[in-house]
């Protein structure tokens, strides 16, 4: 197994009086796309938010690239090299596409070669470069959210349900873009409800239930084992295609 860029050891998270994560153990290998699957309310989004420091872990440790980031603030975690695309995309609707991208570039300037590559992945962004992000369609906003996360090379991308609410044609194109991204060696932790996308993209997988990781392994193994899918997810992947 490749070395782990991210490791969660016994992470608990409380939100107010609610105990959401009950001792998460998770490993994200470097250079791979790891899928985080689970039913609604399993704790997937909370896991990503805890990694980003948006909610503090009440117990346990988060190690990133060998460094304990459990108690770091969100800006420090972002500066350490983790990019985050939240479920609601986090687009600044009143800012233009260009301004959204510039904010994600640390020194305020975007490398022209990288921008060209991003435009190759998501041509709509070039077309709507000077328009307010709020005027974009749902799919285009998702493209912008992902483009913003990759505007500069990052060690790890955390992406929360990028295909949610998108039309099937857009989902297929999004999957192609992720494949392209994977080919650059990017490390990605992807929360997904769309099992077809999970099967096509995932190298490894972690399945969550009730705030715990209940399965870890290769994505290909889970994709082949319909009994395990039934047990872990309640439905077989084939039923979702």
């Amino acid at each position: 197994m490749k070395d782990a860029i991210l490791r969660l050891d016994g992470v608990h998270t409380h939100i107010g009086q609610y105990h959401i994560l009950h001792g998460i153990d998770l490993v994200v290998p470097r250079g791979q796309l790891t899928m985080l699957l689970g039913r609604n309310g399993a704790g997937k989004t909370t896991t990503l938010r805890t990694i980003m420091g948006l909610w503090q872990a009440s117990k346990g440790h988060v190690h990133f690239d060998g460094r304990d980031i459990t108690k770091l603030s969100t800006p420090d975690i972002a500066q350490a090299g983790i990019a985050y695309v939240p479920e609601n995309m986090g687009i600044f609707a009143d800012l233009t596409v260009r301004e959204n991208m510039i904010l994600a570039a640390r020194n305020g300037e975007i490398d022209p070669k990288r921008l060209k590559w991003i435009f190759g992945l998501f041509p709509a962004l070039e077309k709507f470069w000077s328009l307010a992000a709020g005027t974009l369609s749902g799919g285009q906003k998702q493209m912008l959210a992902i483009a913003r996360a990759i505007v500069e090379p990052r060690e790890l991308l955390l992406i929360d349900e990028p295909t949610k609410g998108l039309a099937p044609a857009i989902i297929m194109n999004m999957i192609q873009a992720f494949r392209e991204l994977k080919s650059t060696g990017a490390t990605i932790l992807l929360v997904e409800q769309n099992f077809m996308a999970a099967r096509l993209l995932g190298d490894s997988v972690a399945v969550m239930d009730d705030g715990r990781v209940v399965h870890r392994g290769a994505m290909a193994e889970l994709a082949e084992d319909t009994t395990l899918q039934q047990k872990l997810l309640g439905l077989s992947m084939d039923a979702h295609q």
Binding site: M52, L54, S73, T74, P75, A78, Q79, Y84, P86, G90, F92, A93, D94, L95, E99, I102, L103, A104, R106, G108, W117, G120, L121, F122, P123, A124, K127, F128, L131, A132, G134, T135, L136, S137, G139, Q140, M143, R148, A167, A169, I170, N173, M174, Q176, A177, R179, E180
Partner: protein, 339 residues
Amino acid sequence: MTAVAATTETVSLPKVKTDWLPALLVPILAVAALPLVGSFSTWVTLTVAALAMGMMIFLMASGLTLVFGLMDVLNFGHGVFISFGAYVSLMVLGPLAGWVESPNIWLNIGVLLACIVVAMLVTGALGYAFERVVIRPVYGQHLKQILITMGGMIVAEQMIHVIWGASPIPLRLPEGLRGAIVVGEAAMEKYRVIAVVLGLLVFGLMHLLLNRTKIGLLIRAGVENAEMVEALGYRIRRLFVGVFIAGSALAGLGGVLWAFYRQTLTAGMGMEVNVLIFIVIIIGGLGSIGGCFVGALLVALVANYTGFLAPKLALGSSILLMVLILLWRPQGLYPVAKR
């Protein structure tokens, strides 16, 4: 290379909708008032007075709307900076009394600018202390914010009484800024014209800052989604402290202009104008600088025209305007996207 493009979603170019209607309300209101006022010269005088008042309210309110937009902080003590800004000008007017009475217009403008600079420095520093001592312990707790910031304002008022005394202090405009410019039959007070110019200048600078600089981008983004700005690696708390200091300094600037406008200093002047400021930022849309600007002008125009046409209604005119605007647009004229 793979492209995420081959869908109907990217075919049509979305149209950017610029919402001009709220901004157009200002000229529409002014023109509509002309036949009601009757005399053109009186209308000009009233309109210039209203624009001056609107600019001053905008200066005082702009910081508060950003503070609320950026950090969800309800600062009911914002009037502290207005009162202090006004009283601090006494520290300048004393030593520069000769400049105040000088017939040289440049010395007169110089003393006004000196008052403004000193007031902004003092209220900016006061804002820094206020944020650390009063605001910081109550982040995210609206009820406590209201109580503690109102308490802070009461304490500050008493401090003014201790330092400068409880009696109202008359304030004389510098010699060259007194009187009016007469164009045709319309008289426009010189000081009000200067207030309009200063207000427009500050609005222009704020517009440039917010739209042409990275720090402005961060402020606009932070008003919309502070959490995402942090997730991009920026420390929103530091940005907030900076905005709070700038907002306090702007309130200090507004306080100086407001004091010369009223020509009297009272410790309660900040608290009195606080209500008007809250009306303006609610009308404009919480967190919106453009909305704050339009809201301030509308409130001032309505107050001045109503004061002339139906003086008994003048006191309630701002409230009435707010009710009408909120019935039309419940989020204010220019709501910020997240709200």
